[in-house]
Symmetry: C2
Subunit: 301 residues, 2 copies
C-alpha cells in the first residue's frame, strides 16, 4: 500500500523554513511545505488566495528587480517553446493572486535556477520569503496574446535578510517617485470571515466595489480600534464589513453608529441603519467604546 | 538693525540633521529647522499639516511606547499645573495633525527631557525621526475634559537607527494582533494639488468622504500607475481626484475611463462622465495606457 502524505495548503511563513533556504528540486520544495504542486508555478485557489509562486522562467513577460517582481500569470503558453499561444484567463492561479492582492495576503516566493532573472540561484530552488501582491492588470504580452500580470513587492515585516547578490547584471530600476503612505487598510482572518458573511457588501450602504471579474471588494473595519491605546480585539463581534468610503468616514469621525444601530453624520443627519446578519453578534460594548472616542453629533444619539 | 532669519516651515526630513541629533534648548531646535516654535508643542497649520511635535510632558494623557506614541493635542491645559481645565478644540496644531493623518504626511518627532516617557533624553532635546499619524480621535481625558489624541507610528523608510534604550521601565505593550496590509493608498505633492483643485470631491461621483470637522477626504489616483513596470509620472496630468470607492474600483479593474471621458463598468454600463476642471489638463496618453492594461467592457469603449 502506498502512503500518501497530504500537505494542507497554508498562507504565510512556514515555521521550519528560513528565508534563503535552498532545495534540490520541486519534490523537496513540496515536502517542505513551501510550494506544493510539482508543475504549476502558482499554488492556491481563488477563494483563499495564492500560497506560493515559483519563478522559473516559463514566461517571456516576467521582470525581476529582486525586491520587486512583475510576474506573468499562468496559462496560454506552449510548454515546449514557452511562448504564449493563447490569451490567459483570470482563473485558477491567476484568480488566486487577484484574491491575494485584494486581501493583502502574503505570498511565498521561490526562485528557480531556470528563471530568466539575475536573482535566480545557480542550481535548484531558493525560498526568498514573503511578497505582497501590490497590483494586477492584463495587457497584450510580447507575443500578442493577453497576459495577466502581478506586481509583487517584498514584505519587510520580520526584517528578512537581503536577497543574495545578483549573479548577472540586474535591470536598472527607474528612480522611485517620492510619495508617502496616505492610508493603510489592514486585513485579518476574522475580518475575512465578516466580509464573507456580507458577501463584501457594505453594512451601511449595501454596496460593494466591483472588480474586473464582477466580484466585490470590501474592507473589515474594527469598531473598537486595534492596537495601543484602544486595544480592541480582532474578532467578529468587533468588526464591520464596510465599503472603502464608509470605512474612511468611520475612521475619520465623519459618522457614528449608535447602540440603536442608527448611522448618523456628524450634524446628526440619519444616514441609515446598520445592516446586520442574524449570525453576526456585534458587541454593543465596542459600539459604546467607539462612541466614547468620537465627537458626538449635535442632535443626540 | 536686527537681522531676522525667517525659517520657512517644511514637511519631512531636514537634510543637515541626523536622526538622534541632540539639542540644548528650544532655540537650538528652532535654528536647526527641526521645530520652529519656542513654546508650542505642535508646529504646523491645518492647510498643509504638522511639521513637527515635541514630547515634553505637558499632557497627562500622553503615552510613549517608543516606536508608537499616543500624543495629546494642544489647548485646554493650565500652563502652571499642566492639568486640563477646559475641552480641547480641533483647531491650530490639532487640526494640523488631523491633516497629516489624512494625507499620510511625515511628522518630525522630538523628545524633551521633561517628557513623562522612558524614551526621554536625560537633558535637552533629541530628534527621533519621522512618524506617521495613524489615527486621531477625541475622548474624555483623565481630567474629565475632552482631549484630542493622535496615534503616531515611527516610519521605517530610510531605515532609521533604533531609538536609544529606555532610561526607565517602558510600559508593557499589549501583543500585536496579527494582520496584513490589505491596501496601501499613497500621496504625493502633485496628488495634493489635484485634490485641492477638486476640493476633495470625486471626479466620478462628485462625492467626498466627510470627516469629523466637515472637511472632505479624497485620494489621488495615478492613471498610468507609478513604479515598475508602468513608470507613470507623478504629475497633475496623470492624477485624478477620486473617492476611496472609485479609486479602488479603478485599481481593481472594475471601471474604465475612455478617451471620451466616459466612465464605464466592466459590463459596458455607462457610470457617468469624468468631471474635469478647465485648469486640469489630463493626459490622454495616460488614459490610453490605462486602457491598454485593463480588460475592456464587452460593448466597446
Amino acid at each position: 500500500m502506498r502512503v500518501v502524505t497530504i500537505t494542507r495548503g497554508s498562507i504565510g511563513p512556514i515555521a521550519e523554513v528560513s528565508v534563503g533556504a535552498t532545495f534540490r528540486d520541486r519534490r523537496e520544495l513540496a515536502s517542505a511545505g513551501i510550494h506544493r504542486p510539482f508543475q504549476a508555478g502558482i499554488s492556491g485557489v481563488a477563494s483563499t488566495g495564492a500560497e506560493s509562486i515559483v519563478l522559473s522562467g516559463g514566461y517571456e513577460d516576467d521582470l525581476d528587480l529582486g525586491d520587486e517582481i512583475v510576474y506573468t500569470g499562468q496559462g496560454g503558453n506552449d510548454l515546449n517553446t514557452r511562448r504564449q499561444v493563447a490569451d490567459q484567463e483570470l482563473t485558477r492561479g491567476n484568480a488566486a493572486l487577484k484574491t491575494s492582492c485584494e486581501l493583502g495576503l502574503p505570498v511565498r516566493v521561490v526562485r528557480g535556477s531556470g528563471a530568466d532573472s539575475p536573482y535566480a540561484p545557480r542550481a535548484g530552488y531558493r525560498y526568498d520569503g514573503l511578497y505582497r501582491v501590490e497590483s494586477y492588470w492584463s495587457r497584450q504580452g510580447r507575443s500578442g496574446f493577453r497576459v495577466w500580470q502581478f506586481k509583487l513587492v517584498r514584505m519587510v515585516e520580520g526584517r528578512p535578510p537581503p536577497l543574495p547578490e545578483p549573479v548577472t547584471e540586474p535591470p536598472v530600476a527607474p528612480p522611485r517617485v517620492a510619495s508617502t503612505v496616505q492610508r493603510i487598510v489592514r486585513n485579518s482572518a476574522a475580518a475575512q470571515r465578516v466580509k464573507a458573511l456580507y458577501r463584501n457588501r457594505c453594512q451601511v450602504c449595501g454596496e460593494g466595489v466591483p472588480t474586473v471579474d464582477g466580484s466585490y471588494y470590501a474592507e473589515g473595519a474594527h469598531i473598537r480600534p486595534l492596537g495601543v491605546p484602544h486595544n480592541g480585539p480582532d474578532h467578529e463581534a468587533n468588526i464591520l464589513c464596510l465599503c472603502p468610503n464608509h470605512h474612511a468616514r468611520l475612521d475619520y469621525g465623519g459618522m457614528v453608529i449608535g447602540p440603536d444601530w442608527g448611522v448618523r453624520a456628524t450634524d446628526g443627519t440619519i444616514l441609515g441603519s446598520l445592516h446586520r446578519d442574524s449570525s453576526h453578534a456585534i458587541g454593543i460594548d465596542y459600539i459604546e467604546y467607539r462612541l466614547s472616542i468620537t465627537r458626538m453629533p449635535e442632535s443626540g444619539r
